[in-house]
């Protein structure tokens, strides 16, 4: 009797059983997963619908009006901030001139441009020494006067000196917090 043949037949049948039962288990698992995904989809769809209902609560006309109001104010505040940051106080120039003018100097004509930072003054002093001192005071005030670029003076009636001067101002002079101080005379 050939025992080897019996042994090989038995071994083949065992492997076939393993493969068969494994495939049966796989089929059950595939069907199980199909129903699992089906159930999962159902619950996820339900959740999405719930969230959609919650989202629909937002964006009502009242909320849109509030939103528009907030953005309107935001725009106003932003615009106002830019304007106020660039705002210049022109009256500072008068405080500066008052603080830095000698008692024996008078101004008759005044012209100031905040955009070009130019100051043009015409006036009179009692003598050339006083005018020189006055110019020196303005020139030494480097915080607010960049330079004096035109100076024209001539002796008038009675020995008084008539003059015209052009000064370039430092834009700092127009800043609202600027505290003008005398440079001393």
């Amino acid at each position: 009797m050939n025992f080897n043949l019996v042994y090989r037949l038995k071994s083949k049948s065992l492997w076939m059983d393993v493969v068969f039962y494994f495939l049966c288990a796989l089929l059950i698992a595939v069907v199980f997963y199909y129903f699992l995904f089906l159930l999962k989809d159902y619950y996820q769809n339900q959740k999405i619908e719930e969230i959609n209902k919650k989202i629909a609560v937002y964006g009502t006309q009242e909320q849109k009006n509030s939103e528009a109001k907030v953005f309107d104010y935001k725009k106003k505040i932003d615009d106002f901030t830019v304007i106020i940051n660039n705002h210049k106080i022109s009256s500072n120039i008068f405080t500066f001139i008052e603080e830095n003018t000698l008692p024996t100097v008078w101004f008759s004509n005044f012209s100031m441009s905040e955009s070009s930072n130019d100051l043009r003054l015409s006036g009179e002093s009692n003598n050339m020494e006083t005018l020189s001192h006055q110019i020196s005071i303005l020139e030494n005030n480097k915080d607010y006067v960049s330079n004096i670029n035109i100076l024209n003076s001539q002796v008038g009636a009675g020995g008084t000196i008539r003059f015209v001067l052009n000064a370039s101002l430092n834009p700092e002079i127009f800043k609202s917090k600027t505290v003008i101080q005398s440079n001393g005379n």
Partner: protein
């Protein structure tokens, strides 16, 4: 009944392959897509709830700071009306002993707000420029300028020029000398 295991196994493989490719895999992909949608919807809901809660807070803040914001409103009025401005200049001039000889509405231009160029495309801020001729004394002019600076509406004086109406020789008279002032004043509006 004896099952023919090799043949049944082949049939099972075919059935499993059909089930996987025709049913399970599409269902799995659908489930993944729904999961992504769910996460997106949840994020959208969270975002909206936080956004509208913030809007409510801001609105409450606006209500609490109505006085300050009212000042901004008066600084930047929504509409341009020239008559109240002319009345204001006349009133402040006479209060400070000045005679307003003329007011010329000289310019209306959009302001260049660099930072907010995108915001201003809807309704930008405009510059309104006036040229004002005034007669009066120096102290009056200073007070007039202080009135403009203290006003709830923002005024910026661009140019100031004046010349004495009297000769320099009369500067020692007891009365304050009178000057012809010319001011260029800019204010803003939407």
């Amino acid at each position: 009944m004896e099952i023919n295991k090799p043949i049944t196994s082949i049939i099972l493989i075919v059935i499993i392959a059909i089930l996987i490719f025709l049913f399970v895999l599409p269902k799995y992909q659908e489930s993944r897509a729904l999961q992504i949608t769910l996460v997106e919807k949840q994020a959208e809901y969270n975002g909206k709830s936080v956004y509208y809660a913030k809007i409510s807070d801001l609105l409450l803040g606006i209500e609490n700071r109505k006085d300050e914001l009212e000042k901004i409103n008066s600084s930047l009025p929504p509409d341009l009306f020239i008559s109240p401005l002319i009345y204001f200049f006349e009133k402040k001039g006479s209060e400070n002993g000045l005679i307003v000889k003329s007011i010329v509405f000289s310019e209306l231009s959009p302001i260049s707000l660099e930072k907010n160029s995108s915001l201003n495309t809807k309704k930008g801020v405009r510059n309104i420029t006036f040229t004002i001729d005034i007669l009066g004394n120096y102290q009056g002019l200073k007070n007039f300028l202080y009135s403009l600076e203290r006003s709830s509406r923002l005024f910026q004086v661009n140019t100031i020029s004046f010349a004495s109406t009297e000769s320099l020789g009369s500067k020692k008279s007891s009365q304050l000398p009178a000057y012809n002032f010319k001011l260029e004043v800019t204010t803003h509006s939407y």
